[in-house]
Symmetry: C2
Subunit: 411 residues, 2 copies
């Protein structure tokens, strides 16, 4: 087996991965107030008109628009005030020709009225009469029935990631429970003879597990539920067994492979032997992150992320993040937040390879600047010091100091 039989771009790797993805079908019904960031499992039509009655959008007087035609400061329209619409009630009053009824923002338009003159255009004569000094058009300052949303109109698509405003709108329509997809369960396996639990004191040659925890935190941010399966030594049989467990009991498996050639080979062999079609991608044109493996076995995705902590996180964002969203039924994977910044130092690269370089963001002379934190991809602290990662696209030979660079922000 060659080390990297065919390195592909991250975009090509994603297309291959996506073509083997089978989104979860299971659903659950939750209180709508607890569905933030979950994915709708059905399209939602409005069960009713909102508003269900014509509402005033202003403080003023409900009236017949035709009574105010031609009104001006010099020739105001004189109207008798028949009373007041109380908030939250339907009024028993009917506005006749030459009459008006006091109304507040959000109040229900009384029968007979077809518009509201805003208070600023009204002069109060006495308790029972007003003068309107500007003409009012029919429907002016009135929200008609269904103006916000009509009965049976589409509110949210299926496969939509629920935002705060969606929760507000659903509650406003009385949709207090909602069917969402269950969260995909993602196995996390760390491999390496030298890796130990963070609870233990490392002996010489040993190092604590980082990747299980950074990956698990990222899975949660992507809408999945991390299922850490533990740390296993460099033992193909053990990896095969644990991989089988992960494939049987969860929806996807992420292996944080050791960084040495031998452990990467082990991951390759385990994925290849896990089922059909086996390894799909072996190596991506990304730095850091080249030794990434994508496979599929019996309808489930396996991703072998490189072991260096920076590489792990870069490739997670490129491949595992969208995979988990899609697996969870989300049709449009949310874009990762980015900012543009002026680069303070050259970043070398090679055409045909994407580079991700941790940067520190600062405001200098009113401009956002990005200063690269150069360091090996095995240094986790390059990421704790960084505010984001500068992207050198596939088709560039590098970026020069002074150029504008896109910086991806991680949560």
């Amino acid at each position: 087996m060659p080390e990297f039989f065919s390195v592909v771009t991250s975009a090509a790797a994603w297309r291959i991965l996506e073509s083997h993805l089978q989104p979860v079908t299971g659903t659950e019904i939750l209180k709508t107030s607890e569905t933030a960031s979950r994915i709708t499992a059905e399209s939602i039509q409005s069960p009713e008109n909102l508003p269900a009655f014509p509402r005033s959008t202003m403080d003023g007087y409900a009236l017949r628009a035709s009574d105010t035609y031609g009104a001006s400061e010099g020739f105001p329209a004189y109207l008798k005030v028949r009373g007041e619409v109380l908030m939250g009630c339907s009024s028993s009053l009917t506005v006749q020709r030459g009459e008006a009824v006091k109304i507040h923002t959000g109040g229900m338009l009384p029968n007979g009225a077809d518009a509201v003159a805003m208070i600023e255009n009204v002069q109060i004569v006495d308790a029972s009469a007003i003068e309107v000094v500007r003409p009012t058009a029919p429907g002016e300052n009135v929200l008609k029935i269904g103006d916000d949303i009509k009965k049976e109109e589409l509110l949210l698509d299926k496969g939509h990631k629920i935002r705060s405003q969606d929760i507000g709108a659903l509650m406003g329509l009385g949709i207090t429970r909602l069917k969402v997809y269950r969260q995909p369960r993602i196995s996390v396996i760390s491999t390496g003879d030298e890796i130990i639990s963070p609870e233990l004191q490392p002996q010489p040659g040993q190092i604590r597990d980082i990747n299980t925890y950074s990956i698990s935190a990222l899975i949660e941010k992507s809408g999945g539920r991390p299922i850490p399966l533990g740390i296993i030594p460099d033992d193909l049989t053990k990896l095969q067994m644990l991989l089988r467990t992960g494939l049987e009991q969860t929806d996807m498996v992420i292996i944080s492979a050791g960084s040495s050639v031998s452990t990467r080979d082990m991951t390759y062999k385990a994925v290849e032997s896990a089922g059909q079609p086996g390894v799909l991608v072996h190596g991506i044109a990304v730095r850091p992150g080249k030794p990434t493996i994508i496979g599929a076995a019996n309808g489930k995705i396996i991703i072998g992320l490189p072991g260096n902590p920076v590489s792990t996180m870069v490739t997670f964002h490129l491949l595992a993040r969208p995979a988990i969203y899609k697996l969870g039924g989300c049709l449009k994977v949310p874009a990762q937040p980015e900012v543009s910044a002026r680069l303070t130092h050259n970043i070398p690269s090679t055409t045909g390879r994407e580079d991700y370089v941790p940067v520190k963001l600062e405001i200098a002379d009113g401009t956002l600047t990005a200063t690269p934190i150069f360091g090996e991809s095995n240094l986790i602290t390059t990421l704790t010091k960084a505010d984001g990662l500068a992207i050198v696209p596939l088709d560039l030979h590098g970026l020069k100091a002074g150029e504008t660079v896109r910086v991806r922000m991680w949560e």
Copy 2:
């Protein structure tokens, strides 16, 4: 009391609000793996060197660099192989002059060696001898003790929002428990005679509560814990009582005021009577969102958000979001994600006022375009249809079709 005695910009309103903020001081100790998005309550120094031993960053051979000086394809350096460093162990071998030891990425450098020749620069002669075809410098392909982070070096500042990579680094250093600030508890009060619980069927003139739920979801996204105190009618005494409860038992109070002048007046009076100094800001130069009230009483902030659901969310993001972050001890409020897009239609505005217009984002001819969704600020569905909000800055008279506009994305 005048309607708006002095409208200020949102930036000025924020400065006033911030000057009255008293961050929470309470802390709690959590498992590090459960601290995503929480705020560190102390600065974290590394308890040890990482790595704690010199590690190879390549697969290859540990050796003395001086043995390879002048080596080339034509005149390789011939070295005896003394064995192999096993992963996760310290080696009992000592590399003498003219010797090498096989090593894997992440392996511990054996005594006597000061560099690693990568496998690509080595020709294997037989099981006990190699030829190195390029010179190796001292320290080459070796991570020295503390190269990632040194003992007592700062890892994370106090007041830092914890990201996935921070969790990875903390675990890698054996910091499995972490002191974070407790989450600020934020009361949410909805007011209005016409507002009913979403569980109920509205009668004519009634409308279901939207804002309690959109605000609560936003509080959670900002790191706070929403404490909904319920819906109260337009009754000053009741509002005063509930406001007092909120101020006594939680860290901040958000009132979603009714939209009519009378209910806004009620909120003003309640804030003014809640304690010292009372109302600080009454009206901001933002559309939608003008009728916003900021107050403080006995060291706690009160924000009166306008009742229209779009206004509520716009002003929440401008003022309540950063307030909750700061209240929770976060020193650097995370920027809201933004994209730049080409506007498809004119957006009118007025100098001296910020405008936020819901927009739909689409890719047209390879360019991201923003199409305004014009509609009253009382239509919640303008936000469910929108991908983000286009910003018309304070100093512009509006934006023209074809111009580039910043679009703020909400979660």
